[in-house]
C-alpha cells in the first residue's frame, strides 16, 4: 500500500500538528470575535441589540404576507414559454479560446453554457473558462455605452467624429492600425478587409498575449506553412511533452483533453504521457512519467533525443552536449512506434520548435498524429509584428490605433514602450467591451457586445465552421465590433446581414444538402456548426533529409545553465484565468488551481528542497526583480526554478479582479522577435512580510487510508482488481445492522474514472453555474468556508521532491447507509425512493450534525448570507457583488437559493432528473440512454464522470460498476455510496 500525502503540512509529525491545534490563537472560532475579521466591531450591547432586532424583525415580517404581482407579457413571444428552458447553439470566442456551445436560456436570459456535442472540435465538452463565461455577461463593470475621453457620449456623435478623423488621416496619407487578437471568424476577417480597403494605408496587426509565434515561424521553415497543425492525441500511443501544458492551457485544451482521455482506457487502449517540465502543470500531474528540468536544459534534452533518433533513422551523427537527464528509454520507446507518437514543446523559441518538428518528421508523425488538413486557426499572431508596431508608434508613424480585445498595456512585456508610443498616436480608439489597462488610456471607447449578445462565425480549425448567435438583447448600450467596423467603412449593412451574405456566398458551395441559402443558414444556425464532409487535402512541403538546423545558437543557450545559484523563473497561465481576460469573474477567481488548490492569488512556487535551502516558508514574500510575490512550496517544482502565473495583479478590470495577485508580465523578455516565458535571477530576497493563502485543501489529511487506488497497466492486465484488493475484502467483511433498502425503480448512481480524470476543474464551475453555488471571497476561503459542491482532491504520492499526482473529484456520495441522515434532528436530510440523499433546505435549521457526521466532508454550511436570500442585512457577505440585481440574473430558477444557516450539498442535479423523467412521461416513453446528465458529467472533457441509473443493466454506468476497478470511497465504513470510483491505472515506463 502506497503512502499518500496531500501537502507538506500533513507530512509533519502528528505531535507537532496537535500542539498547533491546541494553541488558542490557532482556533478559527476565536477569529470570529476578533474585530478585524468582522466588518462591524461588535460589543455585547450590539449583540443584544441585534438579538432584539432579529426577534422583532422576524415577528413583524411574518405577520403580513407581501402582496405579489403576476405580470404577464403584453404580447407573448412565441419562442418563450415561462418556466421552460430554451437552448440555442452558439460559439464561445474569447481571445484565442474557442468552444462550440449550447446556451441554456430561461425566460430570455442565458443561465448556463453547455457543450455542443455535434462539434468535431470540442465534442460537447467545455472548460471552466467556458462555463464561467456566462457570468461575464452579467458583469456590471462592463462598459455601459460609448465614451469619449472617459465621458459618456452618443454613438452617432462618436461615429461622425471618428469617421471624419479617419478620413482625414487617409487624406494626409497617414497610417491607421487595427490591433486585434488572432481573428478566426471568416466574416469578421472579411469586414476587416473591407475596412482596410476603405481606409487606404491602414494596417491590421494581430497580437496574442500568450504567444505561439515561434511555433508558427518554425512550421513555416519546416513545412512551408505558417500554421499550428492539428494535433491528434487520440492517435498517439506515446506523447512526449516538454513544458507544454496541453491538458490545461496549451492551444486547445478541451479538444486535447477529450482526445487524450479517449486513449486512457485501460481495458482497451492506453497511451503513455511523458512530461518534461519545470512547474508541476496539470499535464505533468497526469503524466505517466514526469521529469523535472530547468527551462534552460530543455534544448539540450531535445537535442539529445534528436541525436539518438537521427542516428537510428538516418544514421547521421551530430555533436551535442550531454543530456542532464537520462533520455535513452524515451528515445527507445519513440523509435519503437513510428507514426504513433507526438513530441511537443511549450517553448516559444524558434530553434527549439524546429528541432521538435524534425523529430516528429523523423518519427513519421507528420500526417498521422500531427496533421495539417484541418489546422488550428485560433493562434496566428507573430510577436515581431507587435514589436514593429511599437517601434512605429514611438516614432510617431502611427496616426490612429484601433484596439480590439487585446490589452498590450498589461500583457506586453515592455508595456512602457507601448504606453509611451500610444501617447504619440493621434487617434486612439478601443473596441473592447470590458474595461482594461489599455482602454483606460485611449480617447474613444466604442464597446463591443459580450459574445452572448453577438452575431459571429468562427473557423477555429480549417473547414470546421461554427456560428455564434445572440441569446439575449444587449444589456448595455454596446455595439458589436464588426458592426462598428462596417459602419465606419461606410456600409449600411448590419453584421447579421453581412454574415448571412457571406455564408450564402462562401459556405453554400461547400455543401450540397441545401439549395436555398436561407434554409442553409437557418439549419446551420440551429446546429451551431458546419463541418463540410470532405476536407480538402492540404499538402505539406516535406523538408529534405538534412534539415539545416541552427545548432550553434541552440547550443549557446544550453551553455550557461551550470551555475547552481542561478534561479530560473517560469511563467505560466493558470487553468482558471489564463492571460487574465476573465479576471473580473468571481467564479474563476474562486476556482482553486487544480494542482496547488490556491484561489484568489498567484504565487511563486518553489520546491520543498529549495525552500529548505533558502529557508523559505509558505507565505513568505519574495522580492523577484521588481515584483513581490508570496512563496508557495510546491512538491514537484524543479529545484532552482520558481513558477509564477501570469494574468494576475490587474488594475483596471473591475471590482472583483483588481489587485488580486501579482502582475509579472513585465518580467518577460523578447528574444529574436519572440517573447520568452522564462527568465533568470541571481538572487531572491525575503521581504519579511508573510501571507496566508486562500487554499481549499490543507485541512484534512489522508491518514493512510486508500482514498485513491492505483495500479500499473501490466499489473492491471494481469489482474483487473489490481490495486483494488481492499474492495473484495470490504465486500466480504462489511455488515450492517440496518435492513438493506431496495430501489426497484430507479437507482441513480455515478462512476468516476480516475484514469481519465485530469483534474481540469471544468466540473467545479459547471456545478457552480447549475446549482447557484455562492461565491464567498478570499477571506472566507481562508476560514474554510468555501461552498463548492464538487471539489477535486489532489494527493501526492512518492517522494516529496518528485511526487506523482492523483486527482479525485469528490461530491456527495449519496450513501445508502448515509451517516448524515441518522443524526439530523429534524429529518432535513433523508433518502429518496430513487437512492438519492436529499437535502431539504427549508427544513434545515443548521445544527451541522450532518456535516460533522459525514465522512466525506462534502456538506457545506452557509455561515453567512452569501446568496442574498437572508433577511437580516448585517449578515450579507458579498464582497464580489454576486447578489447585485444584474449578477443574480445568472441564477438557475430551478434550484433554491440557500439562505444563511442551512447546509447544502450536491443533489445529483435532481432538477435535471425530475425534468427528464417528466419529459419522458409527457412523451409516453422510457428514458433515452444518457438522457439524464448531471452538470459535471455533461461537460467533462475527459469523459471521466458517468451518471446513470444503476438498475439499467445495459448502461455505460453498469458496465463501469461491474469493472474490477470499481471501489467506493471509504468503503470500510459501509456507507454504500452511489458514487463509484475506478482505480487509476498508470502506464509507466518501468
Amino acid at each position: 500500500m502506497k503512502k499518500y500525502w496531500k501537502d507538506i503540512e500533513s507530512k509533519k509529525s502528528k505531535e507537532q500538528e496537535r500542539r498547533m491545534e491546541k494553541t488558542p490563537e490557532e482556533n478559527p472560532l476565536l477569529e470570529l470575535f476578533k474585530s478585524n475579521t468582522i466588518d462591524l466591531p461588535a460589543s455585547r450591547r450590539d449583540f443584544l441589540k441585534l438579538c432584539g432586532f432579529g426577534l422583532a424583525a422576524t415577528a413583524f415580517s411574518s405577520c403580513q404576507s407581501k402582496i405579489s404581482k403576476a405580470v404577464p407579457y403584453v404580447i407573448a413571444p412565441p419562442e418563450i414559454t415561462p418556466g421552460e428552458a430554451v437552448f440555442y447553439a452558439s460559439s464561445y470566442i474569447n481571445g484565442n479560446d474557442y468552444c462550440s456551445i449550447i446556451v441554456k436560456t430561461r425566460d430570455g436570459r442565458p443561465i448556463k453554457i453547455e457543450g455542443n456535442p455535434d462539434s468535431g472540435i470540442t465534442q460537447g465538452r467545455t472548460s471552466a473558462r467556458v462555463q464561467a463565461s456566462v457570468l461575464d455577461l452579467y458583469d456590471g463593470g462592463r462598459f455601459h455605452g460609448p465614451m469619449k475621453t472617459g465621458i459618456s457620449a452618443g454613438w452617432e456623435s462618436i461615429d461622425t467624429e471618428i469617421i471624419s478623423k479617419l478620413q482625414k488621416i487617409v487624406e494626409d496619407k497617414g497610417t491607421i492600425v487595427l490591433l486585434t487578437p488572432t481573428v478566426f471568424s471568416p466574416s469578421t476577417k472579411s469586414v476587416i478587409a473591407g475596412f482596410l480597403q476603405k481606409f487606404k494605408g491602414s494596417e491590421w496587426i494581430q497580437y496574442d498575449a500568450i504567444s505561439y509565434s515561434a511555433m508558427l515561424e518554425a512550421n513555416k521553415t519546416s513545412f512551408g506553412r505558417q500554421v499550428i497543425p492539428d494535433y491528434r492525441f487520440d492517435k498517439a500511443d506515446l506523447i512526449v511533452s516538454i513544458g507544454a501544458d496541453f491538458l490545461g492551457t496549451w492551444l486547445s485544451p478541451v479538444e486535447y483533453t477529450k482526445q487524450f482521455s479517449s486513449g486512457r482506457d485501460p481495458e482497451h487502449n492506453m497511451n503513455r504521457l511523458i512530461q518534461i517540465e519545470s512547474n508541476l502543470s496539470l499535464t505533468g500531474s497526469n503524466a505517466d512519467n514526469r521529469i523535472q528540468i530547468k527551462p534552460s536544459q530543455e534544448p539540450a534534452i531535445l537535442l539529445n533525443i534528436y541525436k539518438e533518433i537521427l542516428k537510428s533513422v538516418e544514421n547521421r551523427h551530430i555533436d551535442v552536449p550531454a543530456s542532464p537527464v537520462d533520455i535513452t528509454e524515451i528515445t527507445k520507446k519513440l523509435l519503437s512506434m513510428p507514426g504513433k507518437s507526438i513530441v511537443i514543446s511549450g517553448s516559444n523559441v524558434k530553434q527549439v520548435q524546429l528541432i521538435v518538428n524534425d523529430i516528429n518528421r523523423l518519427l513519421e508523425n507528420i500526417g498521422k498524429t500531427i496533421q495539417f488538413d484541418s489546422y488550428l486557426r485560433t493562434h496566428a499572431a507573430l510577436d515581431s509584428n507587435m514589436d514593429m508596431l511599437i517601434g512605429k508608434m514611438k516614432k510617431g508613424a502611427v496616426n490612429a490605433l484601433l484596439v480590439y480585445n487585446v490589452n498590450p498595456a498589461y500583457t506586453w512585456y515592455n508595456r512602457n514602450a507601448f504606453t509611451e508610443g500610444l501617447k504619440k498616436v493621434g487617434l486612439t480608439v478601443s473596441l473592447s467591451g470590458t474595461p482594461d489597462e489599455t482602454n483606460s488610456l485611449v480617447q474613444y471607447i466604442c464597446p463591443d457586445h459580450h459574445y452572448l449578445e453577438s452575431w459571429n462565425d468562427a473557423e477555429a480549425k480549417k473547414e470546421h465552421f461554427s456560428l455564434m448567435q445572440p441569446v439575449i438583447n444587449q444589456i448595455f448600450d454596446t455595439r458589436q465590433m464588426a458592426d462598428t467596423m462596417l459602419k465606419w467603412s461606410g456600409s449600411t449593412m448590419s453584421y447579421y446581414d453581412f454574415i448571412k451574405d457571406y455564408w450564402g456566398g462562401n459556405m453554400m458551395k461547400r455543401q450540397s444538402e441545401y439549395t436555398d441559402p436561407v434554409t442553409f443558414f437557418d439549419r446551420t444556425l440551429q446546429k451551431g456548426i458546419f463541418e463540410p464532409a470532405v476536407a480538402p487535402k492540404v499538402s505539406v512541403e516535406k523538408p529534405g533529409k538534412s534539415a539545416s538546423l541552427p545548432f550553434d545558437s541552440i547550443l549557446k543557450k544550453t551553455g550557461n545553465n551550470s551555475g547552481k545559484n542561478i534561479i530560473e523563473i517560469v511563467f505560466y497561465e493558470t487553468v482558471a484565468l489564463g492571460e487574465g481576460r476573465q479576471a473580473n469573474n468571481p467564479w474563476l477567481q474562486e476556482l482553486p488551481d487544480p494542482v496547488t488548490k490556491i484561489c484568489w492569488d498567484n504565487y511563486a512556487s518553489v520546491s520543498p528542497a529549495f525552500a529548505k535551502d533558502y529557508n523559505l516558508n509558505d507565505g513568505d514574500f519574495l522580492k523577484l526583480g521588481e515584483v513581490e510575490a508570496p512563496v508557495h512550496i510546491q512538491p514537484g517544482q524543479a529545484y532552482g526554478t520558481i513558477g509564477i502565473a501570469l494574468g494576475y495583479g490587474r488594475l483596471k478590470c473591475g471590482k472583483v479582479g483588481d489587485k488580486v495577485g501579482t502582475d509579472v508580465w513585465t518580467m518577460l523578455s523578447s528574444e529574436s522577435g519572440n517573447i520568452v516565458y522564462t527568465t533568470k535571477l541571481d538572487q531572491i530576497v525575503k521581504t519579511g512580510r508573510t501571507y496566508i493563502f486562500a487554499q481549499t485543501q490543507t485541512h484534512h489529511s489522508m491518514e493512510g487510508r486508500a482514498f485513491v487506488r492505483e495500479a500499473g497497466l501490466t499489473e492491471f492486465r494481469n489482474n483487473p482488481a489490481a490495486g483494488n484488493e481492499l474492495h473484495a475484502y470490504n465486500l466480504e467483511h462489511n455488515k450492517s445492522l440496518y435492513k438493506e433498502r431496495k430501489y426497484p425503480h430507479h437507482h441513480w448512481g455515478m462512476a468516476i474514472d480516475l484514469s481519465k480524470c485530469t483534474g481540469c476543474a471544468n466540473c467545479v464551475i459547471a456545478c457552480q453555474a447549475e446549482n447557484n453555488v455562492p461565491v464567498v471571497g478570499r477571506v472566507e476561503v481562508q476560514r474554510v468556508h468555501e461552498m463548492h459542491w464538487l471539489r477535486i482532491d489532489r494527493y501526492y504520492t512518492g517522494e516529496e521532491d518528485n511526487p506523482e499526482v492523483v486527482f479525485q473529484p469528490v461530491l456527495c456520495q449519496h450513501c445508502q447507509n448515509a451517516p448524515c441522515e441518522n443524526v439530523c434532528p429534524v429529518a432535513a436530510t433523508s433518502h429518496s425512493s430513487e437512492g438519492l440523499n436529499q437535502m431539504i433546505y427549508n427544513r434545515c435549521f443548521g445544527t451541522r450534525y450532518c456535516n460533522n457526521n459525514c465522512p466525506y466532508k462534502v456538506r457545506r454550511f452557509n455561515w453567512f448570507n452569501f446568496s442574498g436570500a437572508g433577511t437580516l442585512a448585517g449578515n450579507l457577505r458579498d464582497k464580489e457583488g454576486m447578489t447585485g440585481n444584474l449578477r443574480r440574473m445568472v441564477l438557475n430558477p430551478d434550484v433554491t437559493i440557500r439562505a444563511q444557516g442551512v447546509i447544502e450539498k450536491c443533489s445529483f442535479c435532481v432538477q435535471r432528473i425530475q425534468a427528464a423523467k417528466l419529459k419522458a412521461k409527457y412523451e409516453n416513453r422510457a428514458l433515452h440512454e444518457n438522457e439524464i446528465q448531471t452538470a459535471c458529467s455533461q461537460s467533462c472533457p475527459a469523459n471521466a464522470i458517468v451518471f446513470g441509473d444503476m438498475n439499467d443493466l445495459k448502461s455505460e454506468l453498469s458496465r463501469l460498476i461491474n469493472s474490477g476497478r470499481r471501489y467506493n470511497l471509504l468503503e470500510e465504513l459501509f456507507t454504500m455510496p452511489s458514487v463509484n470510483y475506478l482505480t487509476k491505472i498508470k502506464n509507466k515506463i518501468l
Binding site: S65, A70, V74, I840, V910, Q911, L918, Y922, N924, N951
Partner: protein, 424 residues
C-alpha cells in the same frame, strides 16, 4: 368575602362579556358563512338593483334632458369653478350618496359605484376608479357622461338624471376629494383577538383564585371557567398558528374585473386556452395581453361591465404596459411544483386544486396550499400506470396491478412522498 367583592364582580362581568361575545361571533360567523356561500346570488341582486333604476328611468321619460344641455353656454362659468367651501363639498357628498332629492327622486351614485372595499365582484367601476379617471378631466366631461353617456348600458342606467350644472360641479368636487381619500375599508367585526384577551384575563383571575386567594370554598365555578377559557385559548392559538402564512380564501381585487365565471363558466372557454402553458411547463402562466385580444379584438363590450373593463386590456396593449394582476396562488420559492407533471402526466383536472373556478366571479384561493394538503392528495390519488415510462421502470407495480394482486397504486407508492420530489 366582602373584601374581595370588586374582583369577584369583575370576574362575573368579564364572564358575561366573554360569553356574549362568543355567542355574537359564532352567530356572525354562521351568518357570514351563509353569505360567502352565495356570492353568485349577491351579484345578481346588484344587477337587479340596476335594473330597477332602469325601470325607474323609463317612468320618468318626461324629464328634460335636452334642456339641461341647452344650458351649457349660460352655465359655462359654473363649470369653470375651482374653489369650493367645505359646505359645497358636503353638498357634493350628499348628492353623490343620493341624499338630496332632485325633483321627485334621488340618485345614489354609490349604489352602483362602490365607495367601500368590496369582497365581491361589482361589475361597475368603483367610486375611486371614476374619481381618478375624471381627476384630470373637466366637469363638462363628467356632465356628458352623466347625462348623455355613449355606451348602451350606461345610457339605460343614467337615463333621466335631473342634475343641474351646479350639482354636477359639486359632485365633481366631491369626487376629486374622494380620489385622494380612496375606498373605505369595512370595519372589522368583533375579532378573535378581543375574545382572546378577555378569555386570558378570566383564565388568569380564576387561576389566581384557585391557587392563592381561595375566595370560594366551592372551586367548581373557577374550574368551569378555567376549562372553558382554557379550551378556547388553546383552540384559537392552534387555529391561528396553523393558518399562519397561509392564504386560504384569499380573494384580492384585481386591476381588471375579470370574471372566470363569465369566461370559463358561461362562455365555456377551456382553461388551457388562456393558461396554455399548464400542459407543458411548470407554470400555468398568466395569459399575455395578446391572448385576450384573440377574442376581444372583436368583443369590445361586455353585457355587464360595458366597455370599461375590456378597454383596460386594449389600453394595456396600446401602451405596451402589462396588466399587473395580483397573484393569488403562490407557493414558497423552495417548492418546485410543476403544472406539467400534474396536468399532463398525472391527468389531474384543474378544479382538483383550483376549485370550481367556473363559478367564481372573483377568483379566490381554494386550498390552503399547505404541505399537508399536498401530501393528503398524494396519499389518496391513484396513479394510472399505463404510461410507457411507468411500464418500463415500475413494471413490478404495473404487473401486479394487472394481475390483480394490488387494487391500486397511490402517488406515494411511486415516490410521491420523497422530499426531493418538490424541494431541491
Amino acid at each position: 368575602m366582602r373584601k374581595y367583592f370588586p374582583v369577584v364582580k369583575i370576574k362575573y362581568l368579564l364572564s358575561l362579556i366573554f360569553f356574549s361575545l362568543l355567542m355574537a361571533t359564532v352567530l356572525s360567523d354562521s351568518l357570514q358563512a351563509t353569505n360567502t356561500n352565495k356570492i353568485q346570488p349577491k351579484d345578481t341582486t346588484r344587477i337587479q338593483v340596476k335594473d330597477t333604476t332602469k325601470v325607474h328611468g323609463k317612468d320618468s321619460l318626461n324629464l328634460p334632458v335636452k334642456d339641461s344641455i341647452s344650458h351649457v353656454s349660460s352655465d359655462s362659468t359654473i363649470y369653470k369653478r375651482t374653489i369650493f367651501s367645505s359646505e359645497d363639498l358636503r353638498r357634493g357628498e350628499r348628492l353623490f350618496f343620493g341624499l338630496v332629492y332632485l325633483g321627485d327622486k334621488s340618485v345614489n351614485c354609490a349604489d352602483c359605484h362602490n365607495t367601500r372595499v368590496s369582497d365581491t365582484l361589482n361589475w361597475n367601476p368603483d367610486a375611486l376608479e371614476i374619481s381618478r379617471k375624471y381627476l384630470e378631466k373637466s366637469s363638462l366631461d363628467l356632465r356628458k357622461v352623466l347625462l348623455k353617456p355613449a355606451g348602451p348600458k350606461m345610457k339605460q342606467v343614467h337615463k333621466g338624471f335631473q342634475l343641474g350644472a351646479e350639482d354636477i360641479v359639486l359632485i365633481k368636487a366631491y369626487m376629486n376629494k374622494f380620489a385622494g381619500i380612496g375606498l373605505k375599508q369595512n370595519k372589522p367585526v368583533i375579532t378573535n383577538l378581543l375574545l382572546l384577551i378577555v378569555a386570558s384575563i378570566l383564565f388568569l383571575l380564576s387561576s389566581i383564585d384557585v391557587v392563592i386567594r381561595k375566595i370560594y370554598k366551592d372551586q367548581r365555578i373557577n374550574w368551569a371557567i378555567l376549562t372553558v377559557t382554557g379550551i378556547f385559548i388553546t383552540w384559537i392559538l392552534a387555529i391561528n398558528a396553523i393558518a399562519f402564512g397561509r392564504a386560504k380564501g384569499y380573494a384580492p381585487a384585481q386591476p381588471i374585473k375579470f370574471s372566470h365565471a363569465v369566461h370559463a363558466g358561461q362562455n365555456k372557454t377551456d382553461c388551457n386556452y388562456c393558461h396554455y402553458t399548464a400542459r407543458t411547463s411548470k407554470t400555468a402562466g398568466i395569459p399575455a395581453g395578446s391572448i385576450c385580444l384573440n377574442c376581444h379584438f372583436l368583443v369590445r363590450n361586455g353585457t355587464r361591465s360595458g366597455a370599461t373593463e375590456i378597454a383596460k386590456v386594449l389600453k394595456a396593449l396600446d401602451d405596451k404596459k402589462p396588466v399587473k394582476w395580483v397573484r393569488i396562488y403562490k407557493l414558497p420559492d423552495f417548492v418546485f411544483f410543476s403544472h406539467e407533471q400534474h396536468v399532463s402526466a398525472g391527468k389531474i383536472t384543474c378544479d382538483a386544486c383550483h376549485g370550481n373556478v367556473k363559478e367564481m366571479n372573483r377568483l379566490y384561493q381554494v386550498p390552503d396550499l399547505s404541505m399537508g394538503w399536498c401530501i393528503d392528495c398524494h396519499k389518496t390519488r391513484k396513479v394510472n400506470l399505463s404510461n410507457e415510462y411507468y411500464k418500463t421502470y415500475y413494471s413490478d407495480l404495473y404487473d401486479s396491478l394487472k394481475a390483480g394482486k394490488i387494487d391500486s397504486v397511490r402517488v406515494t407508492g411511486i415516490g410521491g412522498r420523497d422530499c426531493g420530489k418538490c424541494h431541491y
